[in-house]
């Protein structure tokens, strides 16, 4: 695999997120991330799923039990915005380890900085550029991003800054 810059990786991840947002036909926030995990495109039928768990160790993690479909195992008591972000973040692991993701070469490309890549991907999935731009045009403010996009406040702030940087 060729060396890739952080900007190039982010460009690629933004487009993967865009592809899923367009597939879902999302016209306004919030992006229904749990819906796509529960009702995935046929390509990911054996890779997407959600299982609620009681855990104090982690918020969510993707696992692929032998002979079963892969699922995001998510802590049952997470607040809704944190749950959405955790599901979106773990979706990248589902994509990377899927048959199609392996055919795309995603693992070589994204495994080295998986956590950083997954969090960036989650922000782009939950706060797509087109929806953030539309939100700005309607005079939307940073203070209401978290509520509108249903993401945790720190994620809202980071996603907003990334979107501002993309405009410049």
């Amino acid at each position: 695999m060729i060396p890739v810059t952080s900007e190039e990786r982010q460009w690629f991840l933004s487009n993967l997120a865009l592809g899923l947002v367009e597939y879902m036909g999302v016209a306004e926030p919030p992006v229904p991330v749990e819906e796509i995990l529960k009702h995935p495109p046929s390509l990911y039928e054996s890779d997407f799923g959600v299982v609620d768990m009681y855990s104090n160790l982690w918020d969510a993690t993707f696992a692929r039990p032998p002979t079963q479909r892969g699922s995001v195992f998510v802590r049952i008591d997470l607040p809704p915005d944190e749950r959405r972000f955790a599901l979106a973040r773990e979706m990248l692991s589902a994509l990377i380890t899927s048959k199609h993701g392996r055919a795309m070469g995603l693992s070589d490309f994204l495994m080295t900085d998986l956590r950083e890549s997954a969090e960036f991907f989650a922000r782009k999935l939950l706060m797509p550029e087109t929806l953030v731009t539309a939100f700005r045009r309607r005079k939307g403010r940073l203070q209401s991003v978290s509520e509108t996009f249903q993401v945790p406040p720190p994620v809202a702030s980071m996603g907003w800054d990334e979107s501002s940087a993309a405009l410049n």
Partner: protein, 96 residues
């Protein structure tokens, strides 16, 4: 438009296996020919060699970005263009 076309291609590739298959079977040129790229860019993108679709996408990004930068450079007016007529004019006034 060219970067937008590439963005759309990469975005579609996450849900459309036909794109990755085209790449894997060496038929990416056929796919590229349907998109909004200039003939020269189409040729360059069709000729890229990569070990995976993800790597191809990044190499294509570099090519398209470099092309767009070059286009912007060509379109920018030279700073001298705006100044020369004024200088000439003031020079003419002084002579008169």
């Amino acid at each position: 438009m060219t970067m937008q076309a590439l963005n759309q291609l990469v975005a579609r590739s996450i849900i459309d296996p036909a794109i990755v298959q085209s790449f894997s079977t060496g038929r990416i040129g056929e796919l590229i020919s349907d998109l909004d790229f200039s003939a020269e860019l189409r040729e360059r993108l069709s000729g890229l060699k990569a070990s995976s679709w993800a790597e191809y996408a990044v190499l294509a990004y570099r090519v398209v970005k470099a092309t767009e930068r070059a286009t912007v450079r060509v379109e920018l007016p030279s700073p001298a263009e705006g100044l020369l007529p004024e200088q000439r004019k003031s020079g003419e006034e002084r002579v008169a």
